[in-house]
């Protein structure tokens, strides 16, 4: 069985990704089928009524929004400290995915908030810090797209990711540090989950489905990024062969993976 360090090589990663992706996709699909069935057969909540079913999308998206950013931060450390090309690839691939799940978290939260709170949006500490998280994700995606030299873009994106990590504990503990309209933690508490098992089970199955989906999307996006870098390198080499007087060194640095 290949070790993690041996997989930390773009060529070997591509081979492993080809094998793992169909299984991850199938497992995620199966979990979604089970999770959706449980979500719509679970009884309505005594206070929230039918809108509790929105929680089966909102909570997993919120968990993923935080988890993906944490993964991006770990990758940023790998890219900055060890200069590992796969860490950089992972960081770049995760940013739009994290942004998409954060957006989904905000949209589903808003769709739950209107019937339950009577407002689409309130400037509550939890909601505002998640909005800031979305803006950070968008900023990091913009850095990757705005800077031509991918090596420089990687360094700036890694630093921005690590600076933005300060927002993660703010999102997580905002409901404890401030008086918020948003409810406090109800699953991961010292006294165990505060949710009835009939609601907790679909929530956990949907969370597993979302996590597996993210794993499949992340591997797929990383595979694409490795291919894009190979293509870029080929294009640079073709250009240098066509015009040998051109120096391609500054451009080639960005295509090293």
């Amino acid at each position: 069985m290949p070790s993690l360090t041996s997989l930390a090589n773009p060529g070997r990663f591509m081979v492993a990704a080809e094998r793992v992706l169909p299984w991850l996709a199938a497992l995620s699909g199966a979990c979604f089928a089970g999770g959706l069935w449980l979500s719509f057969t679970a009884p309505p909540d005594y206070q929230q009524g039918e809108t509790v079913r929105i929680m089966y999308l909102h909570v997993p998206s919120a968990w993923l929004a935080l988890m993906i950013y944490t993964l991006m931060s770990a990758s940023a450390i790998g890219a900055l400290v060890w200069r590992h090309p796969l860490a950089e690839v992972s960081m770049k691939a995760a940013a739009p995915l994290g942004g998409a799940f954060t957006f989904l978290c905000l949209v589903t939260g808003s769709l739950w908030g209107k019937p339950m709170w009577g407002a689409w949006w309130v400037w509550d500490a939890r909601l505002t810090s998640v909005l800031v998280l979305l803006l950070i994700y968008l900023g990091i995606v913009a850095i990757w797209n705005a800077i031509e030299d991918q090596l420089q873009a990687g360094r700036i994106a890694a630093i921005a990711t690590l600076v933005g990590f300060v927002n993660i504990p703010i999102v997580k503990f905002s409901v404890d540090w401030w008086n918020t309209l948003h409810q406090g933690s109800s699953v991961f508490t010292f006294d165990g989950p505060k949710i009835a098992p009939s609601i907790l089970l679909p929530l956990l199955v949907m969370a597993l489905a979302f996590t597996l989906l993210f794993a499949a999307l992340q591997i797929g996006a990383m595979r694409n990024e490795i291919l894009r870098r190979r293509l870029r390198r080929l294009a640079i080499l073709a250009a240098s062969e066509a015009s040998p007087q051109l120096s391609v060194a500054p451009f080639e640095r960005g295509a090293r993976a």
Binding site: M14, G49, R53, I54, V107, G220, A221, R230
Partner: protein
């Protein structure tokens, strides 16, 4: 009471539709990107160009 007459069901349907749209967009974008990258790499390889280096093997 039918499913569509349940209170606030419109908000529930809208949330699931939004989730479906976001997930479909993510999957579609990644698959489309993969196909176009593979096609572009195949065009280079057809011309006999291969990326140099130890990780250059196209799987």
């Amino acid at each position: 009471m039918s499913f569509l007459n349940l209170p606030h069901i419109g908000f529930v349907i809208a949330a699931y539709a939004a989730a479906l749209a976001v997930v479909a967009l993510l999957i579609g974008t990644i698959l489309w990107d993969h196909r176009s990258l593979r096609r572009a790499l195949a065009a280079h390889e057809a011309k006999g160009e291969r990326p140099p280096g130890p990780d250059a093997v196209s799987p």
